[in-house]
């Protein structure tokens, strides 16, 4: 029997009011693995992440599916149970580090907080651990920096503080929702470098949510591509970029201006736009924009392996024709 996956999500569905926004999502993350959930606005990637943290609220609710963390079932709808896991077994960092930090509390106290709240350490021990953690994430002069407020630090420094506070309790899984989107490109490179290094050193599993295929190529081991609330393709990162087998993945990669491609030429573009959640087509949700669409696509395609003995899966009736696109 193989070791249990760090995270296993089965048939996860999320609704907003009467509309389905995430529909039957399956994926898993192994120990020390970095999995990217990639998609455009409205693909359901961020709601998927929030639901794993048990943070759905208001009219957004889970309508089906299960999640396990190292073999133990997660009660995603049970706030008290999830609260015990947040900050210890599960941690999350967000796009806007400055908005996610308390402006009135020193950054050292914020990093130490989860150890104290969960009774893992006395406040003195927690402070010392926080300073060490700040050093680990590359904050210079951490003894002094720990006493400063978030407003005294740059955006990149604040994201390092967020990562330190997320990792101090040695979680099994770190969820990073667009962790570098608000950062400048040279700072983004530092944070991506840090995430890779910390994963190598601590064996933490990471779920990274992003819209940026460059970020995916830089950090992910495996990639799940989402469109219209569903995973449409999942593969090992090199395989996904070299031989995408879903038309959406293929076209999405083709629309990005490349650093080595011809300039000032017409870029490939995907016609139309993502339909509103109230107007998803029956069957494959990409079919209204897909150049390969046929009558068969009115029936939902299952997520199936693209060949024998591979874990590359795609949900497309015409996956054998994708290579000829774009």
């Amino acid at each position: 029997m193989a070791e249990a996956q760090t995270l296993e999500i089965r048939d996860l569905s999320i609704g907003v009011g009467e509309h389905s926004v995430v529909d039957g999502v399956d994926f898993s993350i192994g120990r020390g693995e970095i999995v990217a959930l990639v998609g455009e606005s409205g693909s359901g990637k961020s709601l998927t992440a929030l639901s794993i943290m048990g943070l759905l609220s208001g009219s957004v609710h889970q309508t089906g599916g299960t999640a396990t963390l190292e073999g133990q079932a997660l009660e995603l709808g049970n706030d008290a149970a999830m609260q015990k896991l947040r900050g210890t077994s599960l941690s999350m960092i967000f796009q806007e580090p400055i908005a996610s930090l308390n402006p009135l509390l020193s950054v050292g106290a914020q990093v130490a907080e989860s150890l104290i709240v969960h009774g893992r350490a006395t406040s003195d021990e927690a402070w010392d651990r926080a300073v060490e953690m700040l050093r680990d994430v590359g904050i210079p002069a951490p003894e002094q920096r720990a006493r400063q407020l978030p407003s005294e630090l740059s955006g990149g420094m604040c994201q390092r503080v967020m990562i330190a506070s997320a990792l101090i309790a040695e979680p099994r899984l770190l969820i990073a929702d667009e962790p570098t989107t608000a950062l400048d490109v040279t700072i983004q490179a530092q944070i991506l470098h840090l995430m890779r290094r910390l994963r190598d050193e601590t064996d933490t599993s990471v779920l990274i949510i992003t819209h940026d295929m460059g970020v995916v190529a830089s950090v992910a081991d495996r990639v799940c591509v989402m469109y219209g609330g569903r995973i449409v393709e999942q593969a090992e990162v090199h395989e996904l970029f070299a031989a995408p087998r879903h038309p959406y993945t293929k076209l999405l990669l083709a629309t990005i201006p490349r650093m080595d491609g011809p300039r000032k030429v017409e870029l490939f573009s995907i016609s139309g736009m993502v339909p509103d959640v109230s107007a998803w087509p029956e069957g494959c949700r990409f079919r209204t924009r897909c150049p390969l669409a046929s009558d068969a696509c009115a029936t939902r395609p299952p997520l199936e392996a693209v060949g024998e003995g591979t874990d590359h899966v795609t949900a497309c009736w015409h996956s054998d024709k994708v290579e000829g696109l774009a």
Binding site: D184, H211, A217, P257, K264, E266
Partner: protein
């Protein structure tokens, strides 16, 4: 040789900082600290750099939205930096802007037809002609004329940006400043808008000042690129030359920091990324603005501001160390 359409000479934009103190010297943020560039008819100049480098302030100064502390902005030979009132309004016929966020750029209470017609009304175009012109403009940017009575909230982000572009083109400008014009759009929509901008340039002979933090987008659309850091242009070159042979250490760091959508190339990157943060612009070093993060810095770099030199046609560089490597001498030679 013909004069450039737009010419910026020695531009400085300094903002005083409110400290709440009555006495003492008011500190100044040198948002733009002495830059020069030109833009020719039908050409695209990209301005790239990270937050706080002064790229948007540069665009705003040209538009009259930021105060010019020193220097000249010549449009078609006329200094426009001091224009106000009617003269400034007349300039809008030739000079327009598209900002990043199409949601805040459009009045939610006006239909998109009304928004596109507004500049025409201000410049005295009659009602019947306005209507015909709005239809023309909507077709030009790929909107259906049936959408003219829609409100912005009924449109997607990509469609709203098309409305903003149509409005910017209403007066048939010669220069459009695009300030992060595609940055808020999803990638599949971004490529549609980039294609539109390229087509409009070909058909109408527009010039673009294309301000963006996204290097792969700028590389795609720009003929020449100016790289800014802390209020100065550290390097400027034709696009192909800049990407083939970046000379300034900041340009090199910036190009290698961009994550490319290719896992093999990403994982082949070696070495540590550029360290440190952009310094506080209130604490501008006397010498090279990049000195605190520069892997090549030598004695004297922090004291003497490097002047831009032309290393090959159209390729300008402001770096003492690289200047000496290329020319055999630099201002540093006099140090010590």
């Amino acid at each position: 040789m013909s004069e450039p359409l737009l010419s910026v000479r020695g531009l400085k934009v300094h903002f005083p900082v409110a400290t709440g103190k009555l006495f003492g010297k008011t500190p100044v943020v040198r948002a733009v600290d002495g830059i020069d560039f030109t833009l020719d008819e039908g050409e695209t100049l990209g301005i790239v750099g990270e937050s706080g480098c002064g790229k948007s302030t540069t665009g705003n100064a040209i538009l009259g939205l930021a105060p010019v502390t020193e220097g000249e902005i010549l449009f078609d030979g006329t200094n426009v930096s001091a224009l106000t009132g009617k003269a400034r309004q007349a300039l809008w016929r030739d000079l327009q802007v598209v900002f990043q966020d199409p949601v805040s750029a459009l009045d939610p209470k006006r239909t998109i037809g009304q928004s596109i017609a507004e500049p025409l009304a201000i410049h005295g175009v009659g009602k019947a002609e306005r209507r015909a012109r709005v239809d023309e403009l909507m077709e030009l940017v790929g909107l259906r004329s049936g959408q003219r009575d829609r409100y912005p909230n009924e449109l997607s982000g990509g469609q709203r940006q098309r409305v903003v572009i149509a409005r910017a083109l209403a007066l048939e400008p010669r220069v459009v400043i695009c300030d992060e014009a595609v940055s808020a759009l999803d990638v599949s929509i971004q490529s549609q808008v980039l294609n539109l901008l390229l087509r409009l340039q070909r058909d109408l002979g527009l010039s673009y000042l294309f301000i963006s933090h996204d290097l792969s987008v700028v590389r795609h659309i720009a003929d020449r690129i100016a790289v800014m850091y802390l209020g100065t242009v550290v390097e400027e070159a034709p696009t192909d030359a800049l990407f083939a042979r970046p000379l300034h250490p900041y340009t090199e760091a910036l190009l290698s920091a961009v994550p490319v959508p290719d896992p093999l190339a990403e994982r082949a990157k070696t070495g540590r990324p550029l360290q440190g943060d952009v310094p506080n612009p209130m604490e501008m070093p006397a010498g090279c603005p990049f000195v605190a993060r520069c892997p090549l810095r030598e004695e004297g770099c922090d004291a003497i501001r490097p002047a831009p030199i032309e290393v090959s046609p159209g390729h300008r560089l402001a770096c003492h160390v690289r200047e000496r490597e290329i020319t055999g001498a630099s201002a540093l030679d006099k140090v010590g």
